[in-house]
């Protein structure tokens, strides 16, 4: 036996080893490979979950949700006056704390009457599918800290990303694809920390596919430079003859068998992934639905469409990042541009999932690492606000057409039913059929979990 390790990072135990050595030789290579990589086998969720997959639309930089989804009449009335409550002890930038009214109007939409800003007409048109949480809050006032807290639950240490935890808990539904894909993520403010598996085995790590256009989004090493499948097949066959000869002289070794199988799997991935990413077969009306046909929505629209295709093909956790919402100044111009890029693709994705019957089992999450202050920075900007902001969700068993929680009269602090990132994580895991207190991993002397020692499932959000 050669030395390799199971998913606990410790050498395999005897029982496991014997089970595998009983698995036969050669013919079962691919199965052996899948057995080694627990992620390749869909595991039955411990509870009955409503969601099978997650698509996370991450708004990097912190969109001003007080403008977009949480209108405040008093803010409009008192604009220019000092914020009447105590400002937080820690702030990202010192300011005079003068209130700044929203440059835009919000209106009620749909049967639910949820309020949405005039900058987001497409999202406004689907509010009856959405569940807004207006009372989100987190602990860190800086992009990096808050971003890592949102993705991993910790703004202090390196911890596995929620996509990694979900894959660790459930495995992927398609062994030819990674279980966690992040499209065009930001390299800054946490970088790989946001999609890293940290102490979980590396196979639960997110696969980053960079690039703004569909053509640039690539899984590492997926392109064969020979561009000739038959030649590559020949190489693998020749390689197999070497590897089988080597293995046959050494008695059964599941690791050597897995290695042989890994080339077959890689070969299949090479065939499958470009197909999933190829948008050319999508009908025009679908591309239009996402705005993937024209600017300013083309880039993000293609990314959202790609996300749907990955999700549909069985990728548990797909993230798409849209940036950069950090409007310390130029709030008006920048938020108008960003909204125009983001609105149609997001609404298109949710509508498309719905018409395909996928929305029930796919949880879509929209939000940034924090919101922005109702007080002004300069004359046309807002500072970071981790104390009260809005995120929204759709599908996967969330209660549609609802608004949950409130901020204070000016939109600074979460007030009624505050929801911390830990609670969001607990609720998402619950929807996936996982009890957040049971999904643990032993590391550095104790059992860790996504929610650490926190996390409350918000049952009011569930359908």
């Amino acid at each position: 036996m050669s030395l390799c390790q199971n998913r606990e990072g410790l050498p395999m135990n005897r029982r496991e080893m014997l089970q595998r050595s009983g698995a036969g030789f050669g013919a079962l290579a691919l199965q052996a490979m899948m057995a080694r990589n627990a992620s390749a086998i869909p595991k039955a969720p411990p509870l009955l979950g409503s969601a099978k997959r997650v698509i996370f639309l991450f708004m990097h930089g912190g969109p001003s949700t007080v403008d977009l989804f949480d209108p405040k009449p008093l803010l409009a009335r008192d604009t220019g006056k000092p914020f009447p409550f105590q400002a937080p002890r820690i702030v990202s930038h010192q300011s005079k704390n003068l209130l700044l009214k929203s440059p835009w109007n919000c209106q009620k939409h749909g049967e639910s009457g949820s309020e949405v800003c005039e900058l987001l007409p497409h999202i406004a048109s689907i509010v009856d599918d959405l569940c807004f949480v207006r009372s989100m809050h987190c602990s860190n006032s800086r992009h990096g800290g808050a971003l890592l807290e949102l993705h991993t639950g910790s703004d202090t240490f390196t911890r596995p990303s929620m996509g990694s935890w979900i894959n660790y808990g459930l495995g992927t539904e398609n062994e030819n694809l990674p279980g966690f894909i992040t499209i065009n993520p930001s390299g800054s403010h946490g970088g790989a920390g946001a999609w890293s598996s940290a102490f979980l085995p590396a196979r639960y790590s997110g696969t980053r596919i960079g690039g703004k256009t569909a053509a640039e989004m690539k899984v590492p090493f997926i392109d064969n430079p020979l561009r000739d499948r038959a030649k590559q097949r020949r190489e693998i066959d020749f390689l197999n003859s070497f590897n089988r000869e080597y293995a046959s002289l050494r008695g059964y070794d599941s690791e050597l068998e897995s290695r042989i199988a890994s080339f077959e799997l890689a070969f299949k991935m090479q065939m499958e992934i470009p197909g999933v990413q190829d948008l050319s077969g999508e009908p025009e009306h679908i591309k239009k639905l996402y705005g993937a046909d024209v600017d300013p929505t083309k880039s993000f629209g293609e990314q959202c469409l790609t996300a749907r295709r990955f999700s549909e093909a069985g990728v548990r956790f797909v993230q798409v990042t849209h940036r950069y919402w950090d409007s310390h100044g130029n709030l008006k111009k920048d938020h108008e541009r960003l909204s125009a890029e983001m609105d149609k693709p997001v609404a298109g994705l949710i509508s498309d999932l719905k018409q395909r019957g996928l929305l029930d089992e796919t949880l879509v999450l929209w939000g940034g690492e924090f919101g922005r202050t109702p007080t002004a920075q300069g004359s046309d900007g807002r500072d970071h606000n981790p104390h009260g902001f809005t995120m929204f969700m759709a599908g996967g068993g969330i209660k549609p057409g609802t608004v949950y929680g409130t901020t204070d009269d000016y939109g600074y602090y979460a007030q009624e039913n505050p929801v911390h990132f830990h609670d969001l994580h607990a609720t998402i895991l619950h929807m996936m059929g996982i009890n957040h207190t049971d999904l643990t991993y032993p590391y550095a002397g104790r059992d860790f979990r996504l929610t650490d020692v926190e996390g409350k499932i918000i049952t009011d959000l569930l359908a």
């Binding site: 050669s2 390799c4 800086r142 800290g145 390196t158 946490g190 790989a192 090493f221 430079p225 991935m269």
Partner: protein, 634 residues
């Protein structure tokens, strides 16, 4: 009362805290097998379970094993032949000596230590700021291994090198370089709360120190008494006082900056100051053009042959302070003041005096590296064993605490720890002993049904076949294709200290054919080929890398630029040989052995599909690079 006895009262074993003993050699039945004392401990256990050790591996396998193990590279065909033709009794010892004397050794074993030191050239985390001259720490580690620096000294320098007396600048530089150990950890650099930031940095430093040298998880006690290991919340804040009296950053506000020791020679420092002064007046608006021209000339004259400033990233002293207990880890709710100190449970009750005018880092470092401390020598020899054999005597090398594994051979561990202390903490002397042992020289094929009875090889009754590490894969491909550049040290990137790193050129840098240990490590990202083969994650100490088999590795071996460029290069070397010898030459070159007739026939058949000979041989080379045999040491 020592901690071991406290634990035993509580019904726990506490083996790691007992004094290191020098156990007597056990009796064995087969008296011909052992070569080193350590073998008696292994053999006694094997015999007790009713088994026999495996036979000695062939010389051909052993030479490959030794090269991979000590250099992280396979031997060349000539090096294999030289060893095979050496018929002397001392052939193996001589081989080990020559491998230990080569600078390739420090590159390999330095990299092992860099895993534990969670080494990175950039901060990662929230703000990916370049570590100023962190590469000097990396080079220091490599050099320390090459020079066989006594490990206790290596420990002291890494924790308190700045506080050691130095007779001259050269010595001061050498001692200070180790301080990178405390500074290169991951930090949240854009924290709006500088107090929280300082405490988080201190926590990370203590935790890394604990895991690296003591096999302890200290971090738990930040919020409460450790539930399993002997560290109370008071102990934690006693240690924290030492680190709170230590300065890591010069600026704790957004975005922070690292402290550097300026160890430039005095006259050069003055010249640099002069350069700076001239540049300032050159840049002044009111300076006339002709004067500017004169200044440019003056500056370039001064800078000619002027060595670059010698700056070392590392911690320094702060005014000393004791720290209050932070209730539940929260620094806003404080408890009792705890004087700085080393937990008495660790020292067997002995009180380590902390100086009033210094942080106490030096006293802490001296205690950690003391032979009286039972943890450190056990932890270090177990690390060495892990890196040689693929599994530690304690299978959790970073955790010797209650949640870690117990040693499979406790007396063997103590035997090695006392050998290590008596050798003057010489790492090279441990390599000699371990590699000369009969245990090490065993074949991977075991006798009888032992593989089924002992699948994990806890009995050490055979060699454990294993895939080589990510760096070894890359370096070996470069080496065997004739591309590897053996230049040592220095920085491959122009980084601006304390500025954001530029990730854009990273994938291009990955193509530079230097040894992988010299490629810059960026914590926010990484090299796809390294990550897929389980390279150490620089966010936390890791003395026990994983070893996975995933499809991404196959994709790298099939499609990467590195593999295609290397196989092309090797194909052109193949074509320099007469046609009839090419297959044999290529197989010997890559796999360090003769080709079989069957392989040559199959190779011919494979090549017949390629009208373009270069293309065919490149494909053949790729197949060999991707083969089990190339990747596994046995």
């Amino acid at each position: 009362m020592g901690f071991a006895s406290l634990l035993m009262e509580a019904g726990q074993d506490g083996w790691a805290y007992r004094e290191v003993s020098d156990p007597e050699l056990p009796e064995v039945r087969q008296t011909e097998w052992a070569r080193e004392d350590l073998d008696y401990f292994v053999q006694a256990r094997i015999e007790q379970e009713g088994f026999e050790p495996a036979k000695e591996a062939s010389k051909r396998l052993l030479v490959r094993r030794a090269y991979f193990d000590l250099h992280g590279l396979p031997p060349s065909a000539e090096q294999v032949e030289a060893f095979l033709s050496d018929q002397s009794d001392k052939a193996w010892e001589n081989l080990i000596e020559s491998l230990l004397a080569s600078p390739r050794y420090g590159e390999r074993w330095g990299r092992h230590w860099l895993d534990v030191a969670r080494y990175s050239d950039s901060n990662g985390m929230d703000e990916d700021i370049a570590h100023p001259s962190a590469w000097r720490y990396r080079d220091y580690v490599i050099e320390s291994f090459n020079n066989d620096k006594p490990f206790n000294q290596f420990i002291i320098e890494q924790l308190a090198g700045d506080l050691l007396p130095a007779e001259n600048l050269t010595q001061q530089r050498a001692q200070t370089l180790g301080l990178g150990f405390l500074s290169v950890g991951p930090k949240m650099l854009a924290c709006d709360d500088p107090d929280k930031m300082r405490r988080d940095i201190v926590d990370e430093q203590m935790d890394t120190m604990g895991r690296a040298f003591l096999g302890m998880t200290i971090g738990c006690a930040r919020c409460h008494d450790h539930k399993i290991d002997p560290i109370s919340i008071e102990d934690y804040y006693g240690l924290a006082g030492v680190f709170m009296s230590t300065k890591t950053l010069t600026k704790y506000s957004v975005v922070a900056e690292f402290h550097e020791h300026d160890l430039t020679e005095k006259k050069h420092r003055e010249m640099w100051a002069e350069v700076a002064r001239l540049e300032e007046s050159k840049n002044r608006k009111e300076t006339p053009e002709d004067e500017k021209g004169r200044l440019v000339g003056e500056i370039s004259r001064l800078k000619k042959d002027l060595p670059a400033p010698f700056k070392v990233m590392g911690v320094t002293e702060y005014p000393t302070q004791d720290v209050r207990v932070h209730l539940k880890g929260d620094y806003l709710t404080l408890g009792d003041l705890v004087p700085r100190g080393v937990p008495s449970a660790w020292t067997g009750g002995e009180k380590i005096e902390m100086p009033a005018e210094q942080s106490g880092r030096l006293e802490l470092a001296r205690w950690i590296s003391s032979a009286k401390n039972p943890l450190t020598p056990r932890v270090i020899v177990n690390r060495l064993w892990r890196w040689h054999f693929g599994r530690g005597i304690v299978a959790t090398p970073d955790n010797f605490g209650g949640l870690g594994e117990e040693p499979s051979h406790p007396k063997l561990l103590d035997h090695l720890a006392s050998l290590f202390i008596n050798s003057g903490w010489s790492v090279k002397s441990m390599h000699r002993v371990l590699m000369n042992s009969a245990t090490y020289r065993q074949s991977a094929s075991a006798a009888g049904d032992i593989v089924e009875k002992d699948p994990e090889n806890q009995l050490l009754a055979r060699w454990q076949r294993r895939r080589v590490e990510s760096e070894v894969i890359r370096d070996s491909i470069l080496f065997k294709s004739g591309r590897l550049n053996f230049e040592m040290g220095g920085s491959l990137v122009e980084v601006r200290p304390n500025k954001y790193i530029d990730r854009a050129p990273l994938q291009k840098q990955a193509q530079i054919p230097r040894r992988t240990v010299y490629l810059p490590v960026y914590r926010s990202t990484g090299y796809d080929d390294q990550k897929v083969f389980d390279a150490a994650d620089p966010t936390a100490p890791d003395g026990n890398r994983r070893c996975s088999t995933v499809a991404g590795q196959a994709l790298f071996l099939m499609n990467s630029e590195l593999i295609h460029e290397s196989s092309d290069h090797l194909a052109s070397l193949v074509l320099e040989h007469p046609e009839s010898e090419r297959g044999e030459w290529l197989i010997r070159r890559v796999l360090d052995r003769e080709a079989t007739q069957d392989e040559l026939l199959k190779g011919q058949e494979f090549l017949s599909e390629y009208p373009d000979r270069q293309e065919g041989w490149a494909a053949f080379a790729r197949v060999l690079f991707a083969s089990h045999e190339f990747m596994y040491v046995e």
